[in-house]
Amino acid sequence: MSGHSQIFMKQDSPSSKRLETILHRELRKLPPVEAPSSLIADVMTAIQARRQAAWWRRPWLSWPAPIRALTLCLGLLFTSGAFYTLGIARTFVLERIEPNALANRIESLLSLGHVFETLGRAFLLTLQSMDQPVWIACLCVIALMYAACIALSSAALQVIAKRRFPRN
């Protein structure tokens, strides 16, 4: 029987139910854990640092009310302005753009595609001219390099993780 099925059977046993009841009662009786004596001082220091910070460095919610209202209005104004400007710009571009100019741009982009096509063909020709063993060896080297990269990065992550988050 698997470990899980055994656990599921034991969970409903009277012994388990009794343990649950007793544990619940005893845990609820536990007194609060005493907070470290430095907690109050640390919080008050952090508050003091916040109070001394310039108002614009504090969270937006704690800014003076008139400034919050002003920034809210400015934000709304800016957003609606941006939408309005975008609308105008779109109309402006559509009115002035020449269909021929657009076609020329697309054609120049397509010529770039031709360059890549030629490069690809050259690469394929090189591959075909190579002997099969050389070709396989090249593939193996590439695969090995790829595997080495993954292994090194995993090892580095493990080392960092162990240093930063040691298991309790």
Binding site: Q11, I22, V33, A46
Partner: protein, 210 residues
């Protein structure tokens, strides 16, 4: 901005509540202190409303729980917390050592037992401690815990079951509780060479612990 005077009194009143909630969920006092500080800084921003509210304790507890769960998922997500949570190995639960009580065995006081139970709770693996604390202290149902931690219901039940079983040995250290549990667990109790049940499991345990 809020006057720090009354806030310091508020801090004094609630520091143990917040720290207790955090340390039971995180199991690490240093991390719990950082979370407690963050909670109180949030409370300071809303102190005008909070100081008048009758449910301030509940608010602080909820914020602390949320920050602790966020902290656990954010900083341990790819490292240990979720690998712990998703580990289905039935033998993966770790044993923890129980420290010897300060006083002699016969005079062992309930305070010692409570201290041991608190220590044992904090020493549980994260994947077992968090659902157990949410179940017994926050009184969430198994379903709510599963939804909260984004793990399966069966995983929650298994982890809580294992946590309780791990704490069973601490419960058995107290003579009264030993008897209560012993009614059902006679087969699990140690026996001496002659096959007799020890008079008190507390005494029996102390022989091994001290």
């Amino acid at each position: 901005m809020t006057d720090p005077g009354p806030f310091e009194a508020f801090l004094r009143d609630y520091q143990n509540l917040v720290f207790t909630t955090a340390v039971r969920l995180l199991g690490r006092p240093e991390e719990a202190q950082d979370i407690a500080q963050e909670v109180f800084l949030k409370a300071y921003e809303r102190f005008d409303q909070l100081s008048q509210s009758p449910t301030v304790g509940g608010w602080l507890k909820t914020v602390t729980t949320n920050l602790c769960l966020n902290h656990l998922s954010r900083y341990r997500a790819r490292l240990s917390f979720f690998t712990d949570f998703f580990s289905d190995d039935p033998d993966s639960s770790r044993e923890f050592e129980i420290e010897a009580p300060d006083t002699a065995c016969q005079q062992a006081q309930e305070a010692d037992f409570k201290r041991l139970l608190e220590q044992a709770l904090q020493k549980l693996p994260t994947r077992q401690r968090v659902p157990l604390v949410l179940y017994h202290f926050d009184e969430l149902s198994y379903e709510e815990i599963a939804a909260r931690l984004k793990i399966s219901l069966s995983k929650v039940k298994t982890d809580i079951f294992r946590a309780r079983e791990a704490l069973r040995k601490v419960l058995r250290l107290l003579p009264g509780l030993d008897d209560e549990l012993a009614d059902r667990d006679l087969d699990q109790e140690p026996r001496d060479i002659q096959g007799q049940k020890p008079t008190s499991l507390w005494q029996d345990r102390c022989l091994f612990i001290t």
